[in-house]
């Protein structure tokens, strides 16, 4: 195992590809290996007791897939959805969910050496959801840590929900 790890680090790592999406004036990168498909915005079915950024669920060829609004997730104001508004379906740890963004723009290649840590620069976005930042032809791209989008507070909420369904405690 150790041997493998060291030999892997000796090799030059391959560049990763990112799908860049727009959110206001900022550009974000989503690891392209996580992206399943890109679809136009369609209305979703609201779910009770969901956090506000979870818009609801949609039918993705028979699977029930939650959709979250990236703006709301980052605490920004919600924008009108337009013709360019898209839902990017991603798959992380075997779970699929949709991320609503203003538009998709590009696919960029990023060498591992070009990823820099995110400075705590008081951006609109909590650095918790970012893996790093990189520059692509003068543009700054913030690399999203996709698996965290549906996580932190949700885990707590889930626990709270489970605790409250325990009728025994009440009866």
């Amino acid at each position: 195992m150790n041997q493998q790890a060291s030999s892997a680090s000796a090799l030059p790592e391959e560049a990763a590809q990112y799908l860049t999406v727009n959110l206001g004036n900022e550009e974000y990168g989503v690891d392209i290996l996580a992206v399943r498909e890109i679809r136009g915005w369609t209305p979703v079915t609201r779910i009770p007791q969901a956090p506000d950024y979870v818009l609801g669920v949609l039918n993705l060829r028979g699977a029930i897939v939650p959709v979250l609004d990236l703006r709301l997730r980052f605490g920004l104001a919600r924008e009108e959805y337009t013709a360019t508004t898209v839902t990017v379906i991603v798959m992380v740890n075997g779970r699929q969910f949709g991320v609503v963004v203003d538009a998709v723009s590009d696919v960029v290649e990023v060498a591992p050496g070009d990823v820099r840590p995110v400075p705590d620069m008081g951006t609109t976005v909590d650095t918790e959801y970012l893996k790093g930042l990189t520059s692509v032809a003068e543009r700054m791209v913030l690399l999203l840590d996709v698996d965290r989008l549906l996580q932190p507070q949700d885990a707590q909420m889930l626990e709270a929900a489970l605790a409250s369904t325990d009728v025994k405690a009440v009866a």
Binding site: T45, P48, N59, G62, A63, I64, A161, S164, V170
Partner: protein, 658 residues
Amino acid sequence: MSKVDLAQFHKAFYEESLDGLDAMEQALLALDEGAEDPELINVVFRAAHSIKGGAATFGFTDVAAFTHVAENLMDEVRSGRRPMAKAVVELLLRSGDTVRDMLSLSMTGQPAATAESQALLAELSAMVSGHAVAPVAVAKAAAPTEAIEGWDIAFRPFDYLLKSGNDPARMFRELEALGPLAVTCDASKLPALAEMDAESSYLGWTLRLDAGAKRAAVEGVFDWVDGDCDLTVTPRIAAPAPVAEVVAAAPAAAAPRAVRDPAANSESSSVRVGIEKIDTLINLVGELVITQSMLSQFNDGVDASQLEMLRHGLAQLGRHTRELQESVMSIRMLPISTVFNRFPRLVRDLAQKLDKKVVLDMRGETTELDKTVLEKIGDPLVHLVRNAIDHGLEMPDKRLAAGKGDTGTLRLEAFHRGGSIVVEVADNGAGLNRDAIVAKAIQRGIIATGEGMSDEAVADLIFEAGFSTAAATTDLSGRGVGMDVVRRNVMDLGGTVAIRSVQGSGTTFTITLPLTLAIIDGLTAAVGEEIYIVPLVSIIESVQVKPDTVRSVAGGGELFRFRDNWLPIVRLFDVFGCAGQRRAVDEGIVIVVEGEGTRIGLFVDELIGQQQAVVKSLEANYRRVTGISGATILADGSVALIADVTGLVRMQARRKAA
């Protein structure tokens, strides 16, 4: 990577071993009842043998060591050196349980040898005569190969061996070249001369090779017949050495034999399929159903000349879709025998423990049920069976005094009725004691008086939560220990439980279950701007409520009069936080539903219709949502959520308590 990663086969080994253990247990139970079928003995032997081989191959040495001794014991029985006594059956049944435990420990990466298994191993070893005892005592030390004094070889060709041109005598000569050889022939399988087929082999041999030859050399002799015989090669070791090591070296000879297991053959008509694959298939078919209903909406807007063709095509599509759906659903269906099979053992052990005489009568074992339902119905059934034997059936002397035979009967039966599966657990015991139950219920404040209550209503009382935890100590027939749990489990599956009891002659529990959980019949209802589905099984009826039958209660709750009861109104609009217009109580519909024995009224804006819903999981990609049991896809492709009636009842209870 030069070594093959064996871990990928672990799951298959585990499943096969569990199947083997099941087959072994069934055979042992049959033997216990006096069946003298040598094939049953062989089944037990082969199960132990293939588990041993598999365990050794995959490095579960503790399991291999244990099963090795069990196999030796069975071998003695098989070769007629030991009668199949009750004590042997008993010990082997316990061994089977232990192996099951050891396997599950091994699969989670823990050491499988526990104090318990070691104790049982000692018992087994003590029973097995001869050389096997010594090595077992020490399980861990490394095996010094030079300590091998010689080899014990058990060799029994399958009956067709001679037809492939192999000659045991020639192989024995080869063995003799390795060292001094003693050959004992086992002619016990030899049939009468008249029935003998000259081309079949009926003999088995035990060979004793007194030379420290290499294992490869010894096994090499049998290379040509590998898979065409039962072969065990056991080294005789001077100093006590680990069986574990010894067995670990044997897999080459042992593993391929699993294929010849009759249990495996009888299952060759079925295929083990990953449930994920089936789920995908079901999804696709569900999708097809939706497409079909989508297409059917085009019925009206098409050029008249094409209309007939379109209609014809649609009808065909509809029929095919339905058939496809049915056949795909059937992949999930398994015979209920997979659940029933555990009961002979359970009944036997319980009867023995309680000194009662019980005959188990199982019927309809081939009745098929959805796998998910099967998995969840096991525990409630165990509960009912245990109760029937413990409390339902009387002691033999009491039965005789009551003019019945001293042996009680427990009937376990499954059959189809309409679109449901019915499972009955019936005993011919004392029946429920009505007076005792009524007394108990009055004491616990559940009812005021038993007068005018039907027998069914009285019997129903035992389903009340906590009803008889105390009753178990009284003279009450004791039914009801955890009966509330049984009912809750069955209701979670969308089923019902009913009791029929005749004092003095027995009690019957009737469980009615839906064929599958994957499709439900539901009522679609509009709530605000949204659509929800309420499962039909939990609906009592839908009523329009007049304002003058509604009472407000302190704390904001509303009750309405339904027949002779006041039921709480649960506004789905508020519970689910819907957008739209909140309506007055007489502008909508109240759906009276029942969950966990409690009725509430769900207030919705309007009823849209009734439809079948293919149930989809919300949790697969999202998480559990209180009050929602899942989702489904409507004809227009959009998602609708399915209300979880039990969850809503609990929410209401919580609100009341708060």
